[in-house]
Amino acid sequence: MIENILINGLIHGGVYALLAVGFSLIFGVARIVNIAHTAFYMIAAYLIYTFSTRFGLHPFPAIAFSILLVTLIGIAVYQLTIKPIQEHEITVLIVTIAVAMVFQEVMLLLYGGHFRGNPSLFAGYLEISGVRVSYQHLLTLVVVFFVLLATWWILLKTRLGIAIRATAQDREVANLMGMNVNRVAMVTMGIAVAMAAIAGVLVAPLSVVEPYMWLHPLVMMLAIVVLGGLGSIKGSLAGAFILGFAETLVVFLIPLGSFLKGAFSLTIMIVVLLIRPEGLFGVVFEEER
């Protein structure tokens, strides 16, 4: 029981962390509330299903192809639909909702509404002091850890990371310092979508793949981002693991818990917001005008 809660909590938390950090990045850099973010996660899950189960590809090329393809789709969506109307923040929001709907319907057309299971990419399990951890779970944890580490490295140690952080801090000044803010936003979108794709690829074998699988993670991701403080990567990480564990605890401990898992996590978010309106790690801005 306890080990199940621990492993599931870590896995949920890790997947949510991948989603929330990407969402935070693109929100911070371009002020885009990208509702379609988890739709990319859904597409990645479908692609890995297609490549590995239908075409019988080896897991590694299948994973690589899926992530690459989804990233390209993400950049195309940014260039074609978000960039032309970027000044109208609220319109961007609707467009991303509509884009997510379009993806959902395309998947419904191509694959139908059935729940599709995906066999584990790597069979077998490992025994750590009497607890069985399947290789798929282990892979998920390791990949999440390294992807987050890589993101942290990119953000703090590379020129690109400095440009991203500078643009997030002040778009206009970053532009004046000679950074191509539009390209920075595009690259950030690519990174964010790639992280969502990695999350999708990891989740596909652990749960069912269906066209509406983007809705629950979307709500959770938004809650996490608000809980941690918008635009704060550290906050998104903390929020992801808090809500990941909260959700797992409710599912395992309370009867009828799976109905309440969303409600419980969101209640945590609201309680935190009431105590700290700017989220756990949010910065208190001077009143923005």
Partner: protein
């Protein structure tokens, strides 16, 4: 004689106030068509579409009153709809109240829901507020599912009395309520309160610096919006005769935002137009059931790429222009202003597209 006189006044009013602006002519014909439609066709399916469009028009316009005017982005507008739907349904079913009592009472419960959401959320701003409000209907939905004894769980509450004895009566109730409440919301937007709402959206600090209690006005916006959305929820539940969890879904909240922004925000008539275009379109697309939602999404994306401020705002700015001197709206092809006869040629003077 008096009849003749009033007739002449109506004709003059019509000539001087309605016919001068294309948007007013369109609004006039829209109302006229709605009133005369049941005389021309009794097709229950068509009437049903218009009834539902009217109900959702009230809903979308109430979103505009809160989020468009005051800029308090509400992503959980379905909360008001759902609370009113469930409370009207339960009042009708358990206590046997007739619809004309349950709908206002349901709307009042939505106002209370608005205050429950509004009071804690007023400390949040911008995207935080949007995402926090998104949470409330989902929390309520979780509660609805865990107490199926009262709420009927996934199936919802059924066996509610119909809105009226015949479909035509229901049609007139919904259409007249939609036009009346729409006019009321439009007038609120034009009143002193509405101006303060506008100002809160533009610069809340400046409003507070002018000695206005912005918290009180934001709460007022939450309650007003909750009331109108609640009326829509009550009407919906009595028309469909079931109050289910679909009234609380995230997609309904998003739907309201899509309608409002597609039509053009901060106008009230924009969301109404948005619903009356998109909802029948969605029904019409039933001829292509597989790709219906896909086409809907594509249409919304493409139209918004060309008209990012919304459809009605775009059309209005194509057909009408603001007089550079007295700020009265004129037909775009007039050379002089219809009120002050100033030259209308100074197009460069026109400040943006957000004039009223």
């Amino acid at each position: 004689m008096a009849v003749l006189f009033s007739f002449r006044r109506i004709r003059l009013f019509f000539q001087k106030e309605v016919l001068v602006l294309p948007s007013r002519v369109i609004a006039f014909f829209f109302c006229l068509t709605l009133f005369l439609l049941p005389l021309m066709t009794k097709d229950p399916y068509l009437l049903r579409i218009i009834i539902l469009s009217s109900i959702f028009a009230i809903f979308a316009a109430s979103w505009d009153l809160l989020s468009g005017f005051t800029g308090q982005m509400n992503f959980g507008h379905a909360l008001f709809f759902g609370v009113a739907a469930y409370s009207s349904a339960l009042l009708n079913l358990r206590l046997g109240f007739p619809p004309w009592m349950t709908i206002p009472l349901g709307a009042l419960s939505a106002v209370i829901a608005g205050l429950v959401v509004g009071i804690p959320c007023l400390r949040l701003r911008g995207p935080y507020l949007a995402l926090a409000t998104l949470a409330f209907p989902i929390i309520l939905m979780g509660i609805v599912f865990t107490i199926p004894g009262i709420t009927g769980g996934e199936l919802g509450v059924s066996g509610i009395k119909p809105l009226a004895s015949s479909r035509i009566a229901a049609y007139y109730i919904c259409v007249i309520l939609m036009l009346g409440l729409g006019l009321l919301m439009w007038k609120i937007g034009d009143s002193k309160t509405g101006i303060i709402f506008h100002a809160i959206r533009e610069d809340e600090v400046a409003v507070r610096a002018s000695g206005i209690n912005t918290t009180r006005y934001k709460l007022l916006a939450f309650s007003l919006s909750g009331f109108f959305a609640g009326v829509a929820g009550g009407l919906y539940t009595h028309f469909i005769r079931i109050a289910g969890p679909s009234t609380l879904e995230v997609s309904l909240s998003f739907q309201a935002i899509i309608w409002a922004i597609f039509g053009g925000v901060v106008t009230i008539y924009g969301p109404i137009a948005g619903v009356f275009i998109l909802y029948p379109l969605m029904e019409f697309l039933r001829i292509l059931p597989e790709i219906r939602t896909l086409l809907f999404g594509l249409i919304v994306v493409i139209i918004l790429l060309f008209m990012p401020e919304g459809l009605t705002t775009w059309v209005r700015d194509k057909m009408e222009e603001e007089c550079p001197r007295c700020k009265v709206r004129n037909v775009a092809w007039r050379k002089t202003c219809r009120i002050c006869f100033a030259d209308m040629v100074q197009k460069s003077n026109q400040g943006g597209t957000n004039g009223i």
